[in-house]
Symmetry: C2
Subunit: 197 residues, 2 copies
């Protein structure tokens, strides 16, 4: 990441740490080391401490996820809902095959280990999932899926992708991602009969 | 839990703590207090310390999940795959409505915050998910779903249930659970055309 500022590198490093070990076990000192940032930069850029850092890392992650959906949609020559979901699953499949199974979804990790006792964190996670869901819903709408269906299919797509990521990590095997993409394709494509095939 | 032994109460309390805050933030002293067990009982029953306790709690949780699938199947008068999934989603819906959104799936929580750096924990989680998946696959087979389909549909069912649990917790709203059950029903039922409707 040569052209990222120290501040950006710290946010990125925090997101990766949350992906690996959750919020509770993310240590500020490790994050600074990982970001190759000067020690004082943490207090300088993040006076709100760990809470501010975790919040910004989750916001960055949600924006990244939403942008990835838009990119996947734009790169499809003949977009269909099932094709979009396959592309989303493929991004994770490629990540696991390239970098191993150590890193999951940061929003899910934060929900699992810290959301309960912390209402502010819960709100951040919620907003993050909403951004991602909105990106999926918007893409479905552009393929002709009616609004109520687009809402509930976005929930189904994100839910099954999240669960398949968890199963892929525990098995160290990408098959769950290809399974859910293959099984959901007919259901998803049937929701947009006018989309190009 | 009046008729559980202190040992059983400790395992149960550990599972509940993992569900609330993950493995990293589960503290042995809290677990003992929660289980209303004598202080010395932890060392007596669990000489392997936190690792043994977490392992047994995850095994207990997986057995509970697998047994719940079998119970749901046995209680359906006219079992169909979509009906089974709706029953699985309903168990979580009722849990959230009755006890709030503080507790998620312990296997997912353990994956999110601790699986990466700990191969033994990873193996325990993997075995746990396999027990749960096997229970779903066996029920699908009994409804006439062919073996390869039963395998991949079990992956789809557990994946989308896990993701919907996460979304329900962050939103403090059970709608994601009802959404995925409604959306998957036609797909699942079509896989067992001979099942009673």
């Amino acid at each position: 990441m040569p052209d990222r500022t120290p501040r950006e590198r710290i946010v990125y490093a925090t997101a990766q740490s949350i992906r690996e070990r959750g919020v509770a076990d993310t240590a500020l000192r490790d994050v600074v080391a990982r970001a190759a940032a000067p020690r004082g930069s943490l207090q300088h850029y993040f006076p709100g401490g760990k809470e501010q850092l975790v919040t910004e890392a989750l916001q960055w992650s949600a924006d990244f996820a939403a942008a990835s959906v838009a990119t996947a949609f734009d790169s499809m020559r003949a977009p269909t809902p099932g094709g979009l979901f396959a592309a989303m699953a493929r991004q994770w499949r490629e990540e696991f095959l390239r970098r191993g199974y150590g890193r999951g979804c940061p929003l899910l990790a934060a929900t699992a280990d810290a959301a309960g006792p912390d209402p502010r964190l819960c709100a951040t996670i919620n907003t993050g999932f909403d951004r991602w869901l909105t990106a999926v819903r918007d893409a479905l709408r552009r393929m002709g899926v009616p609004a109520p269906r687009a809402r509930s299919l976005a929930i189904l797509m994100i839910s099954s992708l999240e669960g398949a990521i968890v199963l892929a990590r525990t098995r160290q095997d990408v098959t769950p991602l290809t399974d859910v993409a293959r099984e959901l394709r007919p259901l998803l494509d049937a929701a947009a009969p006018e989309a190009e095939r």
